[in-house]
Structures are given as C-alpha cells and as structure tokens.
Amino acid sequence: MNWIKQMFSRRRLYDDLSEEIQEHLDEKIEELVASGMSRKEAAAAARREFGNLTLVQEDSRAVWKWPSLEEFLMDVRFGARTLRKSSAFTAIAVLTLALGIGANTAIFSLVNGILLVSLPYPKAERLVSVTGAYPQGALVAMREQMHTMDVAAYAEGHDFNLTGRGEALRLTGTLVSAELFSILGAHPELGRILDQGEDAPGQDGYVILSHALWQQRFGSDATMIGRSIELEGVSRQVIGVMPADFRFPSTKTQIWIPLHNDPRSIFHYWAGDFMPVIGRLCPDATLQQARAEIRMFQSHASALFPWPMPASWNAGVSVVPLQNGMVADVRVRLLLLLAAVALILLIACTNVANLILSRAATREKEVAIRSAMGAGRQRILRQLLTVSLLLASLGGLLGLVFAMEGLSLLKTLLPADTPRLMDVRMDWRVLVFTGGLAILTGLVVGLAPALQISRAALTESLKSAGRGAASSVSQRLRGGLVVGEIALAVLLVIAAGLMIRSFWALSHVNPGFRSEHVLTARITPNESFCNDAIRCLTFYRNVLDQLQSLPGVSGAAFVNTLPLGGRVSKRSLEVEGYVDPSGGTAPLFWLNIVTPGYFRVMGIPLLSGRGFSDADVSGTPVAVVTAETARRFWPNQNAMGKHIRLLDDKTWRTIVGVISDVRAYDLQRNSPRWIDGTAYVPYNPTATLEDRRVPSEMTIAIRTASDDSQIAAMLRDSVAALNHEVPVSEVRTMGAVVSEAVSAPASTTSLFVAFAGLALLLGIIGIYGVLSFLVSQRTREIGVRIALGAQRADVLYLVMKEGARFSFAGIAVGLTGAFLATRLMSSELYDVSPLDPLTYLGVALVMAAVTSLACYVPTRRAMRVDPIVALRYE
C-alpha cells in the first residue's frame, strides 16, 4: 500500500463512502415504502436498522488513516478553536502557566549551567579537587608521591602592580603551579602554557595574560608574546594569552603567575598560601583509590613541616569531583530556589485546573451531547486533554520568552562571584526540560478536570438544561485544589518571611564599625619597594599627611586588611602564659596592622584602655585585642597589661587596649573558624606579616565630610605625585564594602520575596475564582433565602463561611508543610530559627486577611442579589 497516494486519494474515498451509504439508505427506504410503510416511518426504520450513522462513517474512514495522529491534529484544531473563542480564559490560563514555566526554566537554566553542565575542559569527569589546602612544600611532596592523580595548586587573590606603561595598574593575579593548565587540558589562545618545572626558582619569570587584559591593556597585540612586562617591579616574559572563556579559578583573574616553589624561603614554602589543590585522575585510577592515597599522604604530611602541625590539620581530607568542589557553596541556595519555583508552578497548575473545572461546568452539556452522538469516553478524554496540553504548550512558549528575560535579570541580580555564572545559558537541556515541563503541566492541569467531565452522567447533564450545575464531586475537587494552592502559597510566603527576617538580622548586625562616610582604597607600592621598611612606612606616612590637609577629610588611617574586605592576614602569636590545650602549636591570629587613628576613623569603639598614638610607632611595643580574643585567652581577667608576641619576634608586646568585636570576615563571623584570635599592632618596622616583612599592600580608610568622588580624585592625585608607580585600586565606600558582603543573601531574599509575591497573587486569584463561581452557582438559593427574610449579615456569613473554610484549611496545611520543610533552608538563615513563631503567626494572619479580602468581593455580589431577579431566572 502506498500510503502517500492513499493520503491524497483519501478525499475521493470519503466521498465515495458517503455517497454509498446515502444510496444504501435510499434503497432501504424505497423498499420499505414499497412494502407499504409511510415515507417518514420508513426513513426512521432505515436509520434504526443501519445503526449509528456517524460512528459507521468514522469507523470506515478510520480504516484509511493513522488514527491517533490525525485525531490528534483534529483535536488540536478543535482545541485551538475553543481557546480562540474564550480568549479571556485562554489569556489568563496561558499567562499563569507561562509565569510558572518561565520561572522554572530560568532557575533551571542556572541549576543546569552551574551544577549540571560539565566543566568546559576535556574529560572533565576525571578532574577532581582535594578538599584540604596545602602550602607549596606539601604540594611539591604531593606532586612527587601521588600516583593516582596529577595535582596542581593555585592561590587566588595575589595582586600585582603593572608599571612602566602609562598609569600604574593593579592586576588581579592567580599563582599557579606549572601543571595547572595541562591538568585542566586548557589551550592558550596565543603562545603557550606553562611547562613542567616552570614554577621553580629561576625558571618562573613568566606570565600568562587573560584575554580581557590582553585586549584592553595591550590592544590585542599579538607581538606581546615573548615580550616582557614589569610586574611588581619584576620583569616577566609574556608566554601566552588564555582564551576569553577560560575562567579558572574565577572571572576575576587577569594574569596567571607561576608559583615560586623555593624550599629555601621556609616561611613561604611551608606557611605561605594554603592553596586549594586540583587533580586529574590517572587513566586507570578511580576516585576511591585517589581518596585512599590522599589519606595515606595526609597521614605523614604533617611530619614534613619544619614545625609541628596541629593534629586537626586537613584531618578529614578527601577527593571530590572538581565540579562539586567548585560549586559547593551555591548548591543549597540554587536548589532552594528551584524548590520555590516548583511550588509556584504547582500553584499555577492548580489555578488553571480550577479555571478549567469552572469552564467544565458549562462544557458538561456539550460533552454530554457529544457522547450522546456516539463519541467514546476515551476520545472525549483525549480531546479535553488536548486543550489543556495546548494551553500548556502556549504557556511553555511564552514561558521560554519570560525565562530568557528572567535569566538575564538573574545574572545581574546574583552575586558576581557566583561560580560559573558567566557560563549559564539556555542550552538543549533547558529546552528539553521546558518541553517536558509543559507536557507534564498540561497533563496535570487537564487530567483531573477531564476525568471529571468525561465521567459526568449523561442524562443528568442533559436534563439540567442550561444551568450546568457542577456535580458535588467537582465541587469537592475544586475546594481541594484551592486548599492546596493556599497551602503552597503559605509555605512559600513563610520561606520568604524567614529569608527576610534573616536578611534583616544580617543587615542590622552591628559590624563593630561605622561604615557611613568612610571611603576606602588600596594603595600598593611594589613589594620590592618595601624591602626597605622605612622607605615604605615613610611613603604611607606622606600619603596620610597629604590627605589630612585636604578639605573634607576628617581623618585617615591605613590598615592591612579591611573588615569585610575579603582578605585575612594570619600570623602565629605567642600568648604569655597560654598553653594550647590540644598541644604545642602557637595560636593563629588575624593580625591587623594599622596606623594611629584607625579605630577613630573606622568608628570602632574602645572598650577599655587606649588606641594607638604616634608615640607607639617608635615607642615600646604595644598591641590591642578584640573583646572576643580577650575573653578567650584571659577569661575572667583583665587583658590590659598582658603580653603577646609575634612568633619569632624578640620583644613582647603589651596589650594597651581592648576594642569591641569587628565583623571582619563576614557579617556573621568575626573571623574564620581556623583563626584563634584577633590582634591589632601599630604599623612600624616590627609589625611584620608571616613572611617577616612589613605589609606593602595597605588599604586607606578616609572619614569624609564631603563628596566621595572628589576625595577619591584628590587621593589619586596625591599618590601619583608622591610616587607614580603606585596604583590606587578598589576605591569604594565602606558602605559598598558592607553591601557587597550581604549581596548573596540579598539576592536570594529578593528572589524568594518575588516568588512568594507571585504565589500569593496566584493564591488570591484562585480563592477569588472559586468563590465567585460558588456565588454565581448559588444565586438562586441566596435569592430564595433573601426572599424568605434572610438579612445581609446572614448572606455574608453564608458565603464567607465557605471562603473561610478553604482559607483556614489551606493555612493549616501550609503551616504544617512549612514546619516540616523549612528546616531544609536552615543553612541559609542567620539568627532566625526555621520555626520562628513570629514569622509563622504573621504569615498566617496575613494569609487570613488576604484570603478574606479575596472572598469579600464575591460575597458583596451575593449580598446584592435581588431575589426577584434571581428567581425570575428559573
């Protein structure tokens, strides 16, 4: 059988069939008439004998076609026609679904791009990350001893001055071991990557540029390869340019500099950067083998150090896939968002299902007629489902448009340091997800109403002419849907409420300093410039002198690590009379090196004693500690007058002041967990960091009275006048520093609030719709009641009671759900219990108020029912 020919000749086949059947009936009638029947009776008898005419024709035609596909197309045409006819219904349903599907698609794009899509490196599944951090010495040992994987380390956050080419520029660099690029399998856009051994002293005078830097600073000049540039006063040869899409470890990196693995500089080698380590599994090694080997390595790694290491150091070290390691921080947040949008889609589905059910009341008769005409139940079911699938497909298409808009909005809303955010795009996986979601949505939305309608008793429906009374089952179903919808909305609003409470708590944390009217900037001479500590100190002294004479500056001071600035300066300290209970090692402090006046400029309150004065710079060695540190090392004693000493320093420092705690690490913690205390010392030649040098990277804090931008310009001018090789970077107000510290919770919170608002809106529409329908159904009953003397208050009570039933049930279910579900988000909450009673109570009250409002409009309509009009309808 040639099916193509068949398809084209089908028209004729059908015509033949109709004519043939008509002839059949005519012949029968003729015969019956001839046997003495009246023509009218004969026609009826012929039809009776023949059976279901429509069905016979349909069955006969069905022989010639691919039934499912063609029926489907027919259903689609029919569905499209119905939807076009009721454009308001269609618009609301499609829009609702589009919002739900769009939100899900946008968030799924994030989840997909960040958590699912494999890293953009060849055989990325073989890439792993070691969960501990290791200094150079341990890395070199690991590199030699590990057989299951090749390892490389990197240290982010090393900035370099680029000088000798116009204005001095501060570049963000990442120190890398020579194998990093080859392990990742990354190829340069230009030039070459590092070769093995090119991180050893004497062989490491190289630099690799990022595409962006090469383009902006060097005008995409291909002859840069092989040329030297001046970084921190050191000449380095440019050997390569990485392509624009190479963003390891993050987008911030502008240059990659080889590590300088020099065993002779003991402190750098064993106590410099504790670096994250990545690796590539060897061809026949497994993750388990690598884990076993790293544990083996760890068991003797501590012994390699020239000093005892605490037993807890990297104790639980393991090896995880690199992708998991990179995105661990955002995983929970993303999954929470996905859960939230999934709830929204559920609410949207419920709403649309309800809409369809409302329409079902009017369609019940149509369906009854169709089944009376011989349509099978399955056929009707399929046809009803097609309509909802059509709605969902339209919703999905519109949702894709929403998602594209939403995704670009999300990219700007989310913190810029979200890993892999730049890589997020809508790929085939997202499209498959959206398509699947739309189909699923269509089925979910359509199935319940379709089953409901197609089951409807035929004769019942036909009898209740025109009124289309919905059966009680459908009424119950609609009620259940509304309850579910309100419950979901309650759940989301509670989640958002908790986020808001947490965010409020976080942004009202007392950071321990006053951020208003403080302008900050990094002023960073070359490291070599500070080889001479006095020269370095004098330079900073001069900057301060220049600044303090400017109008609008009420004070200025330098600090090596700005609170919330993202940098920690660690230094082992001896505390007089303190012995570490767990054994041996000197406590690790966060050492702040500041110029006199710092506490006043930053508005950090002194709890006892004094801050630093100019006399302290050259006088007897002194220090200031924070309240938390004082409590920890001198519990129930006065810390004043006690002594501490920088490790390997000759003289003890006397504690002359205790300041209140400063949220320096983030807004939730004063310092990272591995830091034991926080101390401040005045900036002088004895104030050295771990590398036994005075800091050459200082941040200035300026308390201003006037326009910040003017001060910033004056600052640049003063520094350039003093030394044109010193760049001024990261110029920002302290307020901006603080708000950056809350940007991640801020974006999550605002997303949750948006989602909760959406859920609330959909929930209100839902309960309003159901109640309106209820009132219109019971207009006659209400009319009768009023005619019999019911007062307005009675009617009010009657309708509101219905609404309140839904709303209270929904709120109760929602509260229970929240009680069970919100603990999942406890890691994202600060200073708020996931079971915060205030939030629960508040949300319950708000929901009750809002749903009552939604009930009120239909109720008022019911109260206005004119009994005469209502009864006349009959």
Binding site: M1, D16, L17, E19, E20, I21, E23, H24, D26, E27, K28, E49, F50, G51, N52, L53, L55, V56, Q57, D59, S60, R61, A62, V63, W64, G374, G376
Partner: protein, 113 residues
Amino acid sequence: MKNREQRDLFPGALEMMILRTLKRQPLHGYALVQHIKRTSNDLLQIEEGSLYPALQRLLKEELVKAEWAVSSTNRRVRIYKLTAAGAKHLQRQVSSFERMLEGITRVLARGES
C-alpha cells in the same frame, strides 16, 4: 458501543461472510447485507451500517475491489468484486475456521457425554 463487540461474533467473521458472498457474485453494499441476513435466516443480527467499515478494511487490503455502476433498478451503486488475493484469503480463512469449529465441536461433544 458495547453491542458492537457482541454483534461481531468473532473478529473476522463478518469479513469472511462478505468474501464468501462476493465469491458467488459481485454485489453492492445494500444487496450484500440483505443477502447475508437472508441466507442466515435472520439469525445473525447485523446492523446494516457495520458492513461498511468491514468493506473499507477489505478494500484497503485489496481483497476486494469496488466500481461504480448502475443497477437494474436504475440506481447508482458501488459493486464489490472479489480479487484473486481475496479468493485465496477466503480459502485460508474458511479452512482455519473449519478447523476451529471442529475443535470446538469436539470439546462440546465430549463435555456432554
């Protein structure tokens, strides 16, 4: 809908009867159904319409072919003829039906004794 399955006796029975009738002589639809009804002494309650889907199936499988013609009563009718394939098909169907019937009869006979 429900009675259609009862009416069909067993799948293929109606087709077999149509083919058998057409083997004797080409007929148009109405005559065909009257003939089947008459020869079965009206024992088989066939809805006249049910003939047409069956005829379409046979047409599709090219077991019969149809041609428009004018009948003796001066009526435009579509005459169905058995094709060679149809004749062969009928033979196969009848023999397998006879085997089946024989089997059923034996079982029924044994059950009685």
